[in-house]
Amino acid sequence: MKQSVNGTALTRKKKGFWKTFKKSLPLTVMALPGLVVMFLFRYLPMSGLLLAFKRFSVRKGIFGSDWVGWENFEFLFKTSDAWTITRNTILYNALFIALDLVMAVAMAIGLSELLRKRRAKIYQTIFMAPYFLSWVVVSFMAFSLFSVDDGLFNHLLAYFGLSGVDWYSDPGKWPFILTFFQVWKTVGYSTVMYLSSLTGISNDYYEAAIIDGATKWQQIKCITLPCLKPMMIVLTILAIGKIFYADFGLFFQLPRDSGPLFQVTQVIDTYVYRALKETGNVGMAAAASLYQSIVGFVLVVGTNLIVRKIEPDSALF
């Protein structure tokens, strides 16, 4: 990456703009469809962000509607639940990022150490499978475990002579249930990402280490982990950018919209959904989403800045 940037900078000095242009024409043409699509679907719709500051009228259109200033943002902060939803969103996501990183790296290393590659493939597929399930499906699977009348857990408890638990109105248990299902569902996917970068590590390092008498643990600590570090940093920075977006399916479908659980399941996305499904206010929806994007943007840039201070080579940009 860096070399090519330097290369073009040099040639520009020597040969001028047109020469460079000619030389990079094939590359430019190759990039063009992507750029056009990106412009059409990522940048053009940004004009819709205006809606966050307007009271939308169908007849007047996006540009003609009346301005209302910051009014559309108020509902996010004026509620007594503002603290709860912010706390839940950020803490859950922070926990998910940390767990996902640790578990996925551990599993990737474990899988790569398996000698029989066929078996590793099978495990990998099994871990990956939940990723493709929709949260709605998962919510019914969970319901079959937690249902008061017919749930597996309550039947088990009854079998051992214990009284059943009212799972869907006991907030204390849900931070664990949510975390379990989130990790169960996503960790397989991240594992594959790390596995793919593991295969890129040259065998020479390990051979050299074995000759020097390094133990398995030393090999992992001194070769595998350092080589995985760039991948870990990239995935983490990207995840942090999404820290203010909660997974709607997880927090809405899994607890089955159960009121008594709101203290531990209400996150910004579910709050906005519940608040606006009655009134359908486009402006307020746009405001909420703009707010999330800006926080996400600031966090990505901030994290990247910190990474660049500590380890310039691993920074994303």
Binding site: L44, F56, G61, F63, G64, G259, G280
Partner: protein, 519 residues
């Protein structure tokens, strides 16, 4: 680079301007009668195509055939052809608001308070003011639908949609398995209030357990609170804490003197929640009422096979009879209240005309046919005679054509969504005096004191957003008896107050005062 940027900027500006122009275009039809199509009488040679977006469940297989038949008739009669865009209810609910927001062209669309919200889109200028066009182009319909309904759909004195005229208002009560009631020796005629029902549930539980079965006493509690203590919902959303008392019901004594009050703070709410909490504790509700209620297919199944004794419903005349036919056992109905007609009752279904429509006059003529023409009404509801039904007498149809009810290609349960059931023939599962039953029902309906008042949520949208969340948190679990009201109602009220319930109530009463002054 610079050039490329300039070019990009140019494209962007052009795109932005076209969007402006497009939205400008859709906004020009302020004065609808200016569409220079000529008057309705002289245009029989010229065929107008109307785009009609309709929501109905499920989309029947033979829809195209029926619409072809319909077009044949309307082409002749009023010079109109229908471009019919039909979606199943769940699809419509998701797609139609987006289509309208995106400025898609249509002439007629289905709207209500449960899908593609009427008031919301009136507020967004999506629908045309038809107050003056109505008597001109749809006079029969205008005269046929009672004035109370027209008043109810008015927003700031103007009508933006033609309501479906069926039963006036809503009546809450309990449908029950009358065979089982007889078997257990229960006299349902003594049930007048929710408290009366406790003894019935006790009998059901005791006798069914003695017989070795575990019959669930009652379900459907998510709708039961407003039936147990009916009030006028001044915001149009009954769950929002802004209620008005209806004198005829004689309830909410502790709120006397307040035109608008928080129904959750009333004694009635505490009593209701305590009663149903007691039911749940006693095991009459089957353990998990919230989740049980959400699965209506399962509920119907249980009701039909006798493992559920009763459930709460909003009742329409003839329902018990048609349920008797479909459930395989006797079904009775115990009313908890007289029918109540309030502003939102007229919002069950309306046909609105787009503010951008080029043919509002033709659209109204077509809506007029849907509401008054026997042939059109029966065709759009039951399909083609001889193919989808056989006529029985003058007023009834038999849809069992080949012996099965559901497999005849065109069959709608909720035919009133097309307009009104009064110009549609009735299925034979309904009693043959059904129209009289409707008349009786409508005559007994209480018109709420503030009928016609529609609340403009815009000034308190922030509070409504927060309050909606609070209600979602506490309401369902309290109202299904899942949690102890002594502990949770005070917390519920604190949360409501912390999120501006008082602002909402005072805004409602301000607007209500204004409405009453201008009346």
């Amino acid at each position: 680079m610079k050039k490329a940027f300039k070019k990009a900027a140019g494209i962007f500006l052009a795109a932005a301007m076209t969007t402006c122009m497009l939205t400008g275009c859709t906004g020009t039809t302020d004065s609808p009668s200016s569409a220079g199509e000529g008057t309705s009488s002289g245009s029989s040679e010229e065929i107008t195509t109307l785009t009609w977006y309709m929501s109905i469940n499920p989309v029947a297989a033979d829809t195209e055939k029926v619409i072809e038949k319909l077009n044949e008739y309307t082409r002749e009669k009023i010079g109109v052809e229908i471009d019919y865009k039909i979606m199943a209810n769940p699809d419509y609910k998701e797609k139609m608001p987006n289509l309208i927001n995106a400025g898609e062209y249509f002439d007629i669309c289905f709207t209500s308070n449960w899908t593609t919200d009427y008031l919301q889109f009136v507020g967004k200028d999506a629908f045309m003011d038809i107050t003056e066009l109505l008597p001109e182009h749809a006079k029969e319909t205008y005269d046929f639908i009672p004035e109370a309904m027209w008043n109810a759909v008015k927003v700031n004195g103007s009508i933006y949609g033609v309501p479906s005229y069926k039963e006036m208002g809503w009546q809450g009560g309990i449908v029950y398995n009358s065979d089982m009631a007889e078997e257990y020796g229960i006299d349902m005629s003594t049930v007048k209030t929710l408290a009366d029902y406790t003894d019935v549930l006790k009998t059901v539980a005791e006798k069914s357990r003695a017989a070795g079965e575990d019959v669930i006493g009652v379900s459907g509690l998510t709708n039961a609170w407003e039936m147990a203590a009916p009030y006028e919902s001044l915001t149009g959303t009954p769950s929002l804490p802004a209620a008005g008392a209806v004198p005829e019901f004689g309830n909410f004594k502790d709120m006397e003197g307040q035109a608008v009050f928080n129904q959750y703070a009333s004694e009635e709410y505490m009593n209701y929640c305590t009663t149903v909490y007691g039911w749940n504790q006693a095991g009459y509700l089957g353990g998990d009422p919230v989740n049980y209620d959400s699965d209506t297919a399962n509920r119907d199944n249980d009701f039909n096979n006798g493992s559920l004794f009763s459930y709460f419903i909003q009742y329409a005349p003839g329902t018990a009879e048609s349920m008797t036919a479909s459930s395989g056992h006797g079904v009775g109905f115990a009313a908890l209240m007289d029918p109540l007609f309030e502003t939102r009752s007229a919002m069950g279904g309306l046909l609105a005309i787009s503010s951008a429509s080029e043919h509002p006059d033709k659209a109204l003529e077509f809506i007029n046919l849907l509401n008054t023409d026997e042939y059109v009404g029966t065709l759009i509801r039951h399909g083609i005679e001889g193919e989808h039904y056989t006529a029985v007498g003058d007023n009834q149809v038999d849809k069992t054509m080949g012996g099965t009810l559901t497999d005849n290609g065109y069959d709608y349960t909720y035919g009133w969504q097309f307009g009104t059931p009064f110009n549609q023939k009735w299925d034979i599962s309904y009693p043959d005096n059904i129209e009289e039953l409707f008349q009786q029902y409508n005559d007994s309906a209480i018109i709420s004191p503030n009928n016609g008042f529609t609340f403009d949520t815009v000034p308190v949208e922030t509070q409504v957003a927060a309050i909606t969340n609070v209600i979602a948190e506490y309401g369902p679990s309290l109202e299904t008896g899942s949690v102890d009201p002594a502990e949770y109602i005070p917390r519920f009220l604190d949360a409501l107050n912390a999120n501006g319930a008082q602002d909402l109530i005072s805004e409602v009463s301000n607007q209500l005062n204004e409405f009453n002054e201008n009346k």
